[in-house]
Amino acid sequence: MSLLKPTPQVCSWTQALDHSASLATYVANGGYQALRRVVTEQVSGDAIIAELKTSALRGRGGAGFPTGLKWSFMPRAFPGDKYIVCNSDEGEPGTFKDRDILRHNPHQLIEGMAIAGYVLGARVGYNYIHGEIFEIYDIFERALKEAREAGYLGDNLFGTDFCFQLHAHHGYGAYICGEETALLESIEGKKGQPRFKPPFPASFGLYGKPTTINNTETLASVPWIVQHGGQAFLELGKPNNGGPKLFSVSGHVNKPGNYEVPLGTPFAELLELAGGVRNGHKLKAVIPGGSSAPVLPAEVMMDCTMDFDCIAKAGSMLGSGAVIVMDETVCMVRALERLSYFYFEESCGQCTPCREGTGWMYRVIHRIEHGQGRPEDMELLNSVAGRIGGHTICALGDAAAMPVQSFLKHFGREFEYHIEQKRCMV
């Protein structure tokens, strides 16, 4: 792939247009045709799920789970209430792609959720939006109003018996609500504490009813796949990694921002799109998939392509596609100290290993950073991290442990230097 070749855009194509978020813009460019077709022609849910499976669309929120497979878990014939929920609680440090979909292309998400409602037999959906982007929540509420008034949401859509209503729900400052069962608790008006799984949301979700939860970018990709076919989406990416993906590039680059490029694009090309490392500095390290993903040194990263499989093979995770770029001026001890504080602050407190362990890790890294580190601290950190990961109800424990383990693995020398010399190497 060359940089000169136009990048096919599934989610970000409205950004360059005037009034990008408006219904008129969306409809004038073919919006809501996929929904209209499936509803009026009564396309079978099985056929749409089959297209999703062909497309190799994998969850864009971090886990990369195949969307078609997830939808097939729903008891679609179950006669009672069922729900479709969108996870726009984008609080993973480094991630800011769903915010752009909500503010520039909200109708594609609404259409995707309505199609999901049609396939999964849900008459009501909720979109849970990160509290800190309240202005974007207002934009989405306006888009919902437009869609209702134009007859794309509500009862008897397009004169059929299909009914679907969609509402926005906002968070108010809790990273943990990005975890899907904590998010459901939060919609129910409770503290956002994750639930034990099983039962999984497909059988016991919102209000105890069958529920499917997908990320914003995932659901916004659905109308494109319905319109152009699963095979076309697959071909935009690479096998097992269908489609393009939005990458949020932050940190030490000249042009931070979102870039929608095919899965499988070399990291070097993405870095170039983002303007390269700022001020001509040297690349030191990259966190390729949001703060919870293991950090990778520059030389490893430069050999990677941006897709789920390649990043996993390199020892990290593509996660939400949040690429945090760090140049040679970064002190890795200071960087890890800040990340560890984040997990300590955001642990919901439910599981002892996470509630206590995140505090221990933060305090040990804090003392190393402040010249009071002890020779045994690195072993201690690895030991605490190893006792959190895999021992908690949700993945926040693992998310807190992985940065610690990976920073020590790849940049252990800097930690040793801090402990020995009581000062920074960089």
């Binding site: 769903d98 915010r99 800190e132 729900h169 108010y172 949020s248 932050s250 030490h252 945090i324 984040f342």
Partner: protein, 165 residues
């Protein structure tokens, strides 16, 4: 209403906004509206006194303790008094890479307070925030929870503070 204190009563506008929230959920799930309702109550009254949380709980027909749990769990709710202008600065890693640390020092020096403190004249409260989901526009802060200011520099911070009376 169980609480007779009229200073706690929310305005008709706020109650109408809460009713819009309630209507989003099934009739037997009014508690789902508590996040929106507490946000609306806080926007009107400045912060969430325990009695105000109780008032909101009563309005939604839920136990006060359940509303209190929500108000104390989510960090954008203020259960202590705050200044007229609450500035929440994100200092998470992507923002720190873009200079949030220097901005934090600038704000602390300029206002003469630390994180979690309020100026003596009650004008400003300074808070340290976690990831706001807009890292490409770093560094950033929120003004009274809902207005985001991005691409901050010390000069832009000064301009913002001057405007907030």
């Amino acid at each position: 209403m169980a609480n007779p204190d009229s200073s706690l009563r929310l305005s008709a506008e706020s109650l109408a906004l809460i009713d819009v929230e309630v209507a989003k959920y099934p009739p037997d799930q009014k508690q789902s509206a508590v996040m929106g309702a507490l946000r609306i109550a806080q926007t009107e009254k400045g912060w969430l006194k325990p009695d105000l949380i109780e008032y909101v709980a009563d309005y939604l027909g839920m136990p006060a303790i359940a509303a209190y749990e929500v108000a104390t769990f989510y960090n954008m709710y203020d259960t202590q008094s705050v200044g007229r202008h609450k500035i929440t600065l994100c200092t998470n890693l992507p923002c720190t890479l873009m200079g949030a640390g220097e901005l934090a020092e600038h704000l602390k020096n300029k206002l003469g307070i630390g994180f979690g403190e309020t100026t003596e004249d009650g004008r400003f409260t300074l808070k340290e925030g976690e990831c706001m989901g807009a890292c490409g526009d770093a560094p950033m802060c929120l003004h009274n929870n809902h207005k985001m200011h991005t691409h901050l520099t010390p000069e832009k911070v000064d301009e913002l503070l001057d405007k907030l009376k």
